[in-house]
Symmetry: C2
Subunit: 377 residues, 2 copies
């Protein structure tokens, strides 16, 4: 088996869907937020801690694992699940986004064959092609592999994007042709910026290739506006089949997750919850809070009242502020647990809201609360 | 209650003792290795993880907590146990060692009153006195407080040490006079370098003051030889009462723990297990191993076969090497768990060996194994 998506309920007043995705390593409910384990580790956390916050699937990164330790080593260690001691579903991205974002422009040459670039670790000249990306992912043995796509900057012109979409379609086809792992699903990626014609074209042509699921890419670039992100989703969704799961790549702001769900997205991923945690920030229902703020010095309340995560059940803001201001690793770890739980809890609440047909109401209430103390934390 | 030490068994062929130490936050068996939580956190680990490795007591640091967040904040947060979410026994050191080791010589002025020095954080001029150290510890509300002592360098002359021992005795008396916390035990510290006359004098005079327990200090300075450490213990122990617990400060090499137990020590502490973990090193029965070593690249075995810790039960050397070489926080965390468990397991085995009268045999076997692969890892 590769994967099996079951659409169970649709919201009455939006495109939001409640469903289940079955993989060889377990089934999880959607909508779902997927924590990012770039180098086969969600920074500072164990797989047991991810399960405890309700995480149904984890993302690992093809580009990073290709460079270190190398896909052959992961393969000989029994594949990613065994390597990282995680027996739940794993999705690997294609490495495309990293090649385009980590390599400097002058070190990067995009050709029909693939992308020539310099390693961000040792400057070595490397070539990542659609075939290579799939071969690496086959060996990593994730449950879901992603097609290798071009990720153009937010500022790209319609003309540039048109050519890029065409190339991404050719790359998707080439990748699909070499995909060999019988236990691994392969997703296609819709690109096309914020242009209706390009998103439609990209979606239709990608779907023609019949992938196991579909992603919407190119929405989490630097400089991308929220409006363009919503457009990109709205222009793509109508052309994606209802019976396949949909994944919005790189999105993790609470409100964007809600907006994505309303538009018909099932899965999200983002480094945001763990990255802001390491910088001492936490999500709360009233917006982000920053633990460098002196007002938390003697605050005995948890990061968020009512939160069911390990951090909020056991630690005060005062202690977490102490850990953050003294650069103690436990601080980032505790906030990572809370922040991931926060996003997953939103998807859990959205699932219930979908079943009860009140997703739009949920969004209005969430936004009202979230912006209440905005700027004062 | 402060604390209650019960000596239960003595080894037939050495000074080794098996006992129990009762505190208001629980009872633990001795010999015991005590992990170091300098800033009220054992780096990267939760209290639950410390309990899981068999840790009976944790050390926190008066100097560091005085500077950040400040003892008043910890006090208003309900004391150290509540502040750091740890409901087991806590010992605080006096800050003496840190003042002497962190402040540069030119920034330090030792007077009868106390030590004038500059903060290692912001260069602020500070004065730590015996009274101040005890007042801070009273507020931190640890289960065991330590007297403020001078920690002279290993190279100090007999003359210097003689004066220093005298001053440390006067400081111990002053500290004891202001100690107020009815739930907190106070320990005296024996100093005197590797000189028999000074250790004897220091021990006898310290014991006259009738503390709740006794420490042997000045053995973990830079440049201290193992021989001098063993001498310092041997010269002090005969003058310490049998019915009080004995703590050797700053010692954590496996063999030194065994040698300390043989000489009559009950409690040890050291940053070594967590520090070497963050640098990618692990204790094993065959000596330390370094995860930067390429030979572990595809090694599917655990850090140590047969080890019962979470790390060894769930992760391969190959994965840990990957985490360490890519600077992933989980690497240091997993090795910290293993390294602390390793030292605590040694003390557990020593407890059994004491009951069975075979401590010297245990030591011989341990050393034979430990040095077997020395230098090849």
């Amino acid at each position: 088996m590769k994967i099996e998506y079951n659409l169970l309920t649709k919201d009455k007043n939006s495109q939001a869907r409640y469903g289940k995705l079955k993989t060889n390593y377990g089934t999880f409910e959607t909508p779902m937020f997927m924590p990012v384990g770039t180098k086969a580790t969600v920074k500072s956390l164990t797989p047991e801690e991810l399960k405890a916050v309700g995480s149904g699937i984890v993302l690992a990164n093809t580009y990073h694992l290709w460079l270190r330790p190398g896909e052959d080593i992961v393969h000989r260690c029994g594949g990613l699940h065994s390597f990282m001691h995680y027996d739940g579903p794993i999705l690997t991205d294609s490495g495309g986004f990293q090649v385009f974002s980590l390599a400097k422009n002058k070190d990067k040459d995009i050709t029909e064959e693939g992308v020539h670039f310099k390693s961000h670790i040792d400057g070595q000249n490397l070539l990542l092609t659609p075939e290579k990306s799939i071969e690496i992912q086959n060996k990593l043995d994730s449950d879901i592999a992603m097609s290798f796509d071009e990720c153009p900057p937010a500022s790209a012109s319609h003309e540039y994007l048109k050519n890029s979409v065409e190339r991404t379609l050719r790359w998707a086809k080439r990748g699909k042709a070499v995909h060999r792992n019988p236990n691994q699903a392969l997703f296609g990626i819709v690109q096309g910026g914020a242009y209706e014609d390009l998103r439609k074209y990209s979606a239709l042509e990608t779907v023609k290739m019949d992938f196991d699921g579909y992603s919407i890419g190119g929405v989490a670039n630097d400089g991308e506006s929220k409006e363009d992100m919503y457009k990109a989703i709205d222009y793509s969704i109508p052309y994606l089949p209802e019976d396949k799961v949909r994944y919005l790549m790189g999105v993790g702001e609470p409100i964007d997750i809600i907006e994505g769900v309303i538009r018909g997205i099932d899965i999200f991923d983002c480094v945001l919850p763990t990255r802001i945690a390491r910088h001492g920030q936490a999500f709360t229902r009233h917006g982000k809070i920053n633990f460098h703020n002196a007002k938390f010095k003697e605050d005995l309340s948890p990061v968020e009242e009512g939160c069911d995560c390990y951090t909020c059940q056991n630690y005060s803001k005062a202690y977490i502020r102490h850990l953050i201001t003294t650069d103690e690793m436990l601080g980032g770890r505790l906030l990572s647990i809370h922040n991931i739980r926060f996003l997953i809890k939103i998807t859990e609440e959205l699932r219930e809201a979908i079943k009860e047909g009140r997703v739009l109401e949920y969004k209005d209430n969430f936004i009202k609360e979230y912006n209440k103390n905005s700027g004062t934390n």
